[in-house]
Symmetry: none
Subunit: 224 residues, 2 copies
Amino acid sequence: MRILLAEDEKSLSKALVAILIKNNYSADAVFDGEEALSYIMTGDYDCVVLDVMMPKMNGFEVLKAVRAKGMTVPVLMLTAKSQIDDKVEGLDLGANDYLTKPFDTKELLARIRAITRQATASTDNNLRYGNLTLNRGTFELSTPTGSVKLAAKEFQMMEYLMSNPGMLISTERFMDKVWGLDFDGDINIVWTNLSYLRKKLVQIGADVKIKATRNAGYSLEIER
Amino acid sequence: MRILLAEDEKSLSKALVAILIKNNYSADAVFDGEEALSYIMTGDYDCVVLDVMMPKMNGFEVLKAVRAKGMTVPVLMLTAKSQIDDKVEGLDLGANDYLTKPFDTKELLARIRAITRQATASTDNNLRYGNLTLNRGTFELSTPTGSVKLAAKEFQMMEYLMSNPGMLISTERFMDKVWGLDFDGDINIVWTNLSYLRKKLVQIGADVKIKATRNAGYSLEIER
DNA sequence: CGGATGTTTTAAGTTATGTTTAAGGTTCGC
DNA sequence: GCGAACCTTAAACATAACTTAAAACATCCG
């Protein structure tokens, strides 16, 4: 689950990112409205936490632009203090929820869970494909005959594959989605992790393979 | 995937085209706003990268004209430096995203992926002609009786043929589109790949042929 | 703190597949 | 029937994809 945090106050931003990561989200931070907008437009995020007061473009302007493009990504807005007018304006523009500073981190996490749940609309915490089950809480990937625990990156790759069964996902897309746009390591890292994943699939006797299509990408495929 | 690059600075333009082609896009370059507009109006492009500062018509004027005609092609604008007013103006006019010069080529590619993904997600991703269907996501060419996977070059040639059905396309044109202007190999390479394509067409029982017209070019033709 | 354990990333070597070259064959227009 | 344009095939080459090992990092626990 990838979250974008747009908050210009550096110390708060840093603290929140740490908290999010600790709670198994992958989080990217941006510090002004323009950056926020252009990161959101990549479509790589499952949730956006958007401060209203920001340099260059404020949170409302960003939200307005995002919705104008037809993007439905859940947005949680942060307002400095409980301004009724702010709330009304934000709701009109299509924000999913509000939080008034200062807030409790527990509440932030709860609201993030709430709006992302709404979006994914699935009460079931497991993903299934073929004889595979991926438990999103424990990172366990299992078949009737065995199970392994996935590491975080492996888990994100598998989660992405399993939530788009049969769809082709390019190496670059994996990079964008799992490592984030500003990662600048080698592309090899995707291949390495795919390799580990495949090994684990064999280990637990999965009837699912990760199939490569040269120059195009990867997809899950049920064997014979 | 065809991309139009409108950028008047020649050396930058050339470098970007080379990068785009290397990444399996087929790219055309234009050097002023008027040209850009008339190329965009052909409707042949899946994405436009548009510099703001250009001779004859600037990027905003072009964008405005394009949207006024009701064209929804995704547009990525390039601004010389982070001008807030520019961003706001462009967004109002219907740009899909922004990039501030100088930028990293990796970021450019990521943003192109992002805006084209949005666009292609909703619309049909297949090209059709005769009993043929070309899936642009998986590179699969199929008929009711069979299907094959195309290699990247084959795919680009076929995509180009199918998006200009019946049109005559010269060997040189193929070279430019698929291999790029600065490719300096033999012309034979086009023939070789056409040959492979034809073989695959027969294999899957296509009712479409790639017809050669001596000294003129190639075109798709439905066999009666 | 400091060693143990597990994860992520880098590096380097290997394999498979797609791309290009090369060379000879065929067809067409004159 | 001759030359230019086009076609085909196979072999040489290039590179995307894969794997493994080891280095770098992070986390946990005494």
